[in-house]
């Protein structure tokens, strides 16, 4: 199987298949990251589309010495940051609405087995998800990004530090502060 860096090199030479493979590998992660960062499905989709457009536009600047996912998340984080700044414009604020048409409330929740179906459990998990997304939006952006990149996307502290352009010690501190705030916000839900 080709590495992401090899696929990028092929895309730089004009391979459509290479980009399609990169997209297939990473689009879900990008959408999930955008969703956790914006707390809004429509905004997440819009941001994720913009991320892949930016990746394509900037493909010629990609150096194989950088890990592709780190480069991709750097672009993704900057893109969501722009979207969040735009949201702050008067009248532009998009509320977190997870009940709209087309939204699948069960997305991302591991459903219980047939014999273990528990509506209360499902409702509780949906509530937890809503509250968590709300609580995430209250965090300073850099703390939220550090926590989501590490816990949501599985990046190491060192990789998070590269994406955010800070030291590993700063990442450790930001993730800790994010955790403390989130646990206080979700008191009674996360035990």
């Amino acid at each position: 199987m080709r590495t992401d860096a090899e696929l990028m090199a092929l895309y730089q030479k004009g391979s459509r298949d290479a980009f399609e493979e990169l997209f297939a590998r990473h689009h879900r992660r990008v959408i999930h990251f955008c969703y956790r960062m914006t707390g809004d499905q429509a905004r997440a989709e819009e941001a994720a589309q913009e991320v892949f457009l930016r990746i394509a536009r900037a493909a010629s600047t990609y150096q194989p010495t950088a890990r592709f996912t780190t480069w991709m998340y750097t672009i993704t984080r900057r893109t969501t940051l722009n979207f969040l700044r735009d949201e702050k414009e008067p009248g532009e604020k998009v509320p977190i609405d997870t009940t709209g048409e087309g939204y699948d409330a069960t997305e991302g929740i591991s459903l219980p087995g047939r014999g273990d179906w528990d509506p209360e459990q499902v409702a509780w998990e949906a509530q937890l998800k809503d509250k968590l997304l709300e609580a995430l939006q209250k965090l300073p952006e850099v703390n939220r990004a550090a926590f989501v990149l590490n816990r949501g996307e599985g990046l190491s502290y060192e990789e998070v530090a590269t994406v955010l352009g800070v030291t590993v010690q700063a990442v450790k501190s930001r993730i800790f502060r994010a955790r403390e705030t989130l646990l206080a916000e979700l008191s009674g839900l996360v035990e």
Binding site: G14, S15, R16, F19, F23, H27, R28, I31, H32, C34, Y35, R36, Q41, A44, E45, A48, Q49, F52, L53, A56, R57, G102, Y103, D104, E107, G108, I109, S110, E125, L128, K129, L132, L133, F147, V148, N150, R151, G152, S156, Y157, K172, S173, I175, F176, R179, E180, L182, L183, L186, V190, E191
Partner: protein, 169 residues
């Protein structure tokens, strides 16, 4: 060590990012502090909740993106199947054409039998007359023009006749 001071280490411990020394200190602390042990469990549960908080992936997400990319000329167009087929068909077509040329040029040899030097070995008879073998070859010239005249058993019995260098002159 005070709980307030060790909580940041516990956070890194939960993420698998604590140094061996920090991990040892955290584990020792858990043994004598149920509150920090409970905090560690809450931190882990929070991590699971974040993983589960996924966005939906719309079915038309890829289609919409690729349409935008093609509009901006960021995505190379996929080659048509027709062009692809022609390219690969060119190889067997060229081979068939070369074979046909070779066979036809070989058949030219017995047509000119005015010189005995051009006659295939073992073929006797006066110049200008065709031997039975020559007549058979001439008969096959019609088949080359219309291959449908052949049936499968005849194809299996056919031999390729190639003149020797002396015969070609």
């Amino acid at each position: 060590m005070e709980c307030r001071e060790i909580r940041e280490i516990i956070s890194a411990y939960v993420d698998g990012e604590a140094s061996p020394e920090e991990a040892r200190r955290a584990e020792e602390h858990f043994g004598r502090c149920p509150e920090c042990r409970a905090a560690e469990k809450r931190m882990r549960a929070l991590g699971v909740a974040v993983v589960r908080a996924e966005g939906a992936v719309p079915s038309d997400f890829r289609e919409n993106l690729f349409a935008r990319m093609e509009k901006e000329d960021l995505l190379p167009k996929r080659r048509s199947i027709f062009a692809f087929s022609l390219r690969w068909a060119a190889i067997p077509l060229a081979a068939a054409a070369a074979l046909a040329l070779f066979v036809l040029s070989s058949r030219d040899v017995p047509r000119d039998l005015s010189s005995t030097a051009m006659r295939p070995p073992g073929v006797s008879g006066p110049a200008g007359e065709l031997s039975p073998e020559d007549r058979e070859i001439v008969a096959y010239l019609d088949i080359l023009e219309d291959p449908d005249m052949l049936d499968e058993t005849e194809i299996e019995e056919m031999e390729i006749f190639a003149p020797s260098p002396e015969q070609r002159g």
